[in-house]
Amino acid sequence: MSDKKIPNPKTYKFDTLSLHAGYQPHKNAGSRQVPIYQTTSYLFDDVDHAAALFNLERGGHIYSRISNPTVGVLEERVASLEGGTAALATSSGMSAIFLTVMTLCEAGDHLVVSSQLYGGTVNLFRLTLPKFGIKCTFVKPRDTEGFKKAIQKNTKGIFGELVGNPGNEIMNMPEIAKIAHDAGIPLMIDATYQTPYLCKPFEHGADIVVHSLTKWMAGHGSSMAGILVEGGNFDWMQNDKFPTMTKPYEGYHGLSFAEEFGPTAFTMKARAEGMRDFGPCLSPQNAWNVLQGIETLSVRMKKHCSNADEMVKYLSNHESVAWVSHPNVPDHPDHELAKKLLPNGRGSMIAFGIKGGKDAGVAFINNVKLASHLANVGDTRTLVIHPASGTHSQMDEATLKFAGLSHDMIRLSVGIEDIDDIKNDFEIGFRAARKPRLVSNQ
């Protein structure tokens, strides 16, 4: 068949979706911008309408803990960008992860989890979930076979960050997805560091994607938000591992989410049960702030990545730098896999070792002026932190090593400032970092 004859679908593409998806102005008084529906609740037409909404007979809004029109635009927009069927936005990235796990698991269940995760997520899986009777086995992200070996009879899913933090080790997502699917369980990916601009995990076999929207998606360091997105391809009815998805649910007149909602069943359950009972809803104002950020996602991510590439080169050749970790560094162990999974750019998180160890790290952080010293990533502004003296200062050498950290490590989230200004600022930091050594050498 000649390809010429076949028309291409004219569905909107990424950059258009990031501006328009999920919203129709003519249904909102012609308002070109998405309105902020600052309300807790929504009028019912009559008692029949009220009952219909509560019984999930009709779509619509009841109460802003469950859903809100502004938040709904954000949910559809992210679902469209990820290539997912449905999404549920939450008050933070952590609550999105928690809700995902609580929608999937019951007491007595088990998860296989990558060991290189954001610290808050590690604590959730290591310390908090066991309190709910959910146990986890941690596997190093590059140990693909290890994920397979760790699967038990009661394992309900695999969870990981595509590019681990802070070591930048990459999970072989297509292989690990296959392992999960062979075991009849879903793969859940935290794609906060990539955003759908760099990687759409559903295209590589993931089943659920979560984001801390707080980071690059919102992009401006202004608002907390999270989201879970459903790929729609996972068959919950293939085995008897997911009774809360497949069996009649008492909370909704014996509804079976998988039967009734198929490719959107997970999101429907997360909302109907999780939002109702846990309630980590996103405020409409914050949803709007995130939407503003997403409008320029492509533009920003391009600049984040090109600045990061420049910084990798600059740091790799710098006399004060002992090592640089970023998937773009040619001898990074996952350099090739990164090119395959992240063709549009490898992200703007860099870790590097500063010569002179902990003292040099402290001096660097205390002297940079443009780079902001704080506990966040994915701001439009350049951010730095020295874990050994700040977030992880209680840890000894061995514990630091276990967490993938070292005394000399500086974590850098590259912003979109002029690259020369970032480098000039770093020169000030490096000069200060060299000073203590010069003094002690005399």
């Binding site: 068949m1 328009h20 007979e57 559809e76 936005a89 909704y252 039967e259 909602f261 198929g262 959107t264």
Partner: protein, 272 residues
């Protein structure tokens, strides 16, 4: 629920309520390559309001076993078999797209059994774009992408799903990809393309009939839908602005409102 028709297991959603043989029966028939899930924003309402509902998965589709039926005529007979299999003497039919061809043919074949007919995005014939047909028969996922493009109007393309958080095009696409494309969409498209009896069948229909059409429907344009409706005595037509072929989801509330009035008037519910 699951039951048997001609030795094959069939799945039908009962709209979230137990199937109750005392209530009048409405059968919902989905479009090419799709499943019972396209009806979720109509079926649950009727199930909660005095009807027994069966949103069937056609053989070989969704959760039903067996092979896809190869002709619209076979599908029409199969709907009749479904009515028999669940122990009913009569039913109301609701069809979408290909489901309209099926329900029109079924009504003309079994005039005493079918009490009302509701058609959504219907036409007397659905000749297929040859390239689209070829793609589907070759199991090419591009067939689904093209169908999702053409089947959705502005609501589908921009979004604004009646159910918060759902994204139309990807949800529809996932439904159409849930089984092997050539065995569902490929067979269905060929059956639609082959079916020539729609206008003749329509002339025989004497029961209350409703057609819901949409101005932005590229698969079954309003003009085609009207041509069919004109052949059915006293049939009602409702046209939705700014909406595509997937009106049952894109404008679910409007469709439900019109459907509700039509069915409850012509085929009253059991008031419990």
């Amino acid at each position: 629920m699951k039951f048997e028709v001609n030795g094959n297991e069939v799945f039908a959603s009962t709209g979230g309520r137990p199937f109750d043989k005392n209530k009048p029966l409405i059968i919902f028939v989905h479009g090419s390559g799709l499943t019972h899930m396209t009806w979720v924003l109509q079926t649950r309402y009727f199930a909660f309001h005095g009807y027994s509902v069966l949103a069937v998965d056609m053989p070989g589709h969704g959760l039903s076993s067996g092979k896809s039926l190869k002709s619209i005529e076979d599908m029409a007979d199969w709907i009749n078999d479904v009515i028999d299999a669940v122990g009913y003497k009569e039913a109301s039919l609701v069809g979408h797209s290909q489901g309209c061809l099926v329900t029109v043919e079924c009504t003309s074949r079994y005039p005493d059994k079918i009490k009302t007919l509701s058609l959504m995005g219907g036409a007397g014939a659905i000749p297929m774009n040859p390239e689209l047909l070829e793609l589907a028969e070759n199991n090419d996922p591009k067939a689904v992408d093209l169908m999702m493009d053409w089947a959705h109007g502005p609501a589908g393309h921009f979004g604004g799903h009646p159910v918060p958080g759902l994204y139309h095009i990807n949800t529809g696409g996932m439904l159409a990809k849930s089984r092997t494309i050539k065995e569902t969409l490929g067979v269905d498209f060929r059956a639609c393309d082959n079916y020539k009896n729609g206008f003749e069948a329509a002339k025989k229909i004497k029961i209350p009939t409703l057609s819901i059409l949409a101005t932005d429907d590229k698969m079954c344009p309003v003009k085609e839908g009207k041509k069919l409706a004109d052949l059915i005595d006293g049939s009602k037509v409702d046209i939705i602005d700014n909406c595509g072929h997937m009106m049952l989801l894109e404008e679910a509330d409007r469709v439900l409102k019109v459907l509700k009035k039509f069915i409850t008037t012509n085929y009253p519910p059991l008031n419990t």
